[in-house]
């Protein structure tokens, strides 16, 4: 647990000092909203369309962080340092997934208000508590799969291509769950509570892949 906190602290400190990942993700997501505005030729969105646009934007912006997640470890010899230390290897998975979760939350803190201002045609406040629950579950899915895929992709030749290539199909069930759960929240007079079926699917997805990643992650670090 102390290892996890140390690695997580290192990653967050690095991000705070370099400001490389999260600002890029935020700019990317805002640019994506503008593209959706012109691509769909709509001034405001609601319902399932709004849920889908928001989910897809978060997913694609998340891919930017996924691509960069292990680059420093690979290039600066962080993997060797970690392997030399007498610590549990799964700690790196947990720490990196937690860092990714924090990055995604940071992205959403800016991207959701920006979305509400730029594209959303209905008031955000009634939907907000439900939306936070949905996005929290979606962030877990994205962090777990993203960390696993990033650890595979970082050792390959075409690193930036392989990450999204593996990650996007793996995340399709989570994308369906998030978009379907967020859609009914973003309508006028919504009940404010997301559909339980989709929350359950998201939670199941999170659980299965978290356990699976925990089981196989050790093999990605052996040398």
């Amino acid at each position: 647990m102390r290892t996890v906190l140390t690695v997580l602290r290192k990653d967050l400190l690095l991000e705070l000092r370099s400001l490389e990942t999260v600002p890029t993700m935020i700019l990317f997501s805002i640019a994506t909203f503008v593209i959706f505005h012109f691509g769909l030729n709509r001034n405001s969105l609601d319902g399932q369309l709004a849920g889908g646009v928001l989910t897809v934007t978060v997913l694609f912006a998340g891919m930017l962080a996924v691509n960069r997640l292990f680059v420093a470890e690979r290039e600066q010899g962080g993997f060797d340092g970690f392997l030399l230390a007498p610590v549990d290897r799964s700690a790196l998975l947990v720490a990196k997934a937690a860092a990714l979760f924090v990055f995604l939350t940071g992205l959403e803190l800016i991207a959701i208000p920006a979305f509400a201002v730029m594209l959303l045609g209905v008031p955000l406040w009634p939907a907000l508590p439900g939306l936070i629950a949905v996005l929290a579950l979606a962030n877990v899915a994205l962090s777990v799969i993203g960390t696993l895929v990033s650890a595979i992709a970082v050792q390959s030749r075409a690193r930036d291509l392989i990450g999204p290539l593996l990650g996007l199909p793996l995340l399709v069930p989570a994308l369906i769950g998030t978009a379907r759960a967020a859609g009914p929240l973003l309508v006028t007079h919504s009940t404010g509570s997301p559909p339980g079926k989709w929350l359950a699917i998201l939670a199941l997805y999170d659980l299965v892949f978290a356990l699976l990643s925990y089981a196989v992650f050790d093999f990605l670090l052996e040398d």
Partner: protein, 242 residues
């Protein structure tokens, strides 16, 4: 030393016999579907292809567990060949499914059809297996990473089907349900023989490719022993250990 070639002749003969029997039954014994007519016969090819392909993906994941447990590269090659073959069967299932959809629903592709869409996602995911595998140069690491991917993706198959199925209404004809389906006995018999035939085809092709890879490995090992390390050009895009 394992020889895959010895079993190959008998296996091929059984496969040819079963598949011939299955499609003879499909065309001459099973009754024509009252609703869909002749096009329904493609069902004896499409459904077995889809089922065998999905089982092949999961089979590849199970073989990959063998690699991670033992570190023996033969398990990794078995897993690679299983996924490779399942992918070919999967593309066959997508094409035959599309033909059936065109004839029966009037469209080549139907998005609100959960089985079709989830199958496409699985095929897309496994289509990334080879680019991922061959972009890692170190053979040891390639085997390890490919195994990790095969296990995760194998577990993804059932989960994906649950998610996509819930997202849509049922349109796809349910062939195998828990209640035993609603096929007449003659159709069911033909279907199960076709399923057996396609399964045998998968096993035969798997054994055939394993035999070929095995033979190539042995030839390379012998050449290296006789001609020295420098005489061997490194293999490009191959899962076989050199």
């Amino acid at each position: 030393m394992i020889t895959y070639g010895r079993r190959l002749r008998g296996l091929s003969l059984v496969t040819i016999a079963t598949i011939s029997l299955a499609y003879a039954l499909a065309f001459f014994y099973a009754p024509e579907d009252a609703d869909q007519g002749f096009i329904q016969k493609i069902f004896y090819l499409h459904v077995p292809l889809a089922i065998v392909s999905l089982c092949g993906f999961i089979f590849g994941g199970l073989l990959a567990i063998g690699y991670l447990r033992t570190g023996d590269r033969r398990w990794d090659i078995r897993s690679y060949v299983a996924i490779h073959m399942a992918l070919i069967f999967g593309i066959g299932a997508l094409i035959t499914g599309s033909i059936w959809a065109k004839a029966s629903w009037g469209h080549w592709w139907v998005w609100n059809e959960p089985t079709l869409v989830s199958f496409l996602i699985v095929v897309l995911l496994f289509a990334t297996y080879q680019p991922m595998r061959f972009s890692i140069e170190d053979p040891e690491r390639q085997a390890r990473y490919a195994s990790v991917f095969a296990i995760v993706a194998g577990a993804f198959v059932p989960l994906n089907f649950i998610a996509v199925r819930l997202a849509n209404q049922y349109v796809h004809p349910r062939v195998l349900t828990l209640e035993g389906g609603n096929l007449p006995a003659s159709m069911a018999l033909t279907f199960y023989i076709a399923l057996l035939g396609i399964t045998l085809l998968y096993v035969t092709l798997w054994t055939y490719e394993m035999a070929a890879k095995n033979a190539r490995m042995q030839v390379r090992a012998t050449r290296r022993k006789l001609l020295g390390e420098d005489a061997m050009a490194p293999l490009r895009r191959s899962a076989a250990p050199s």
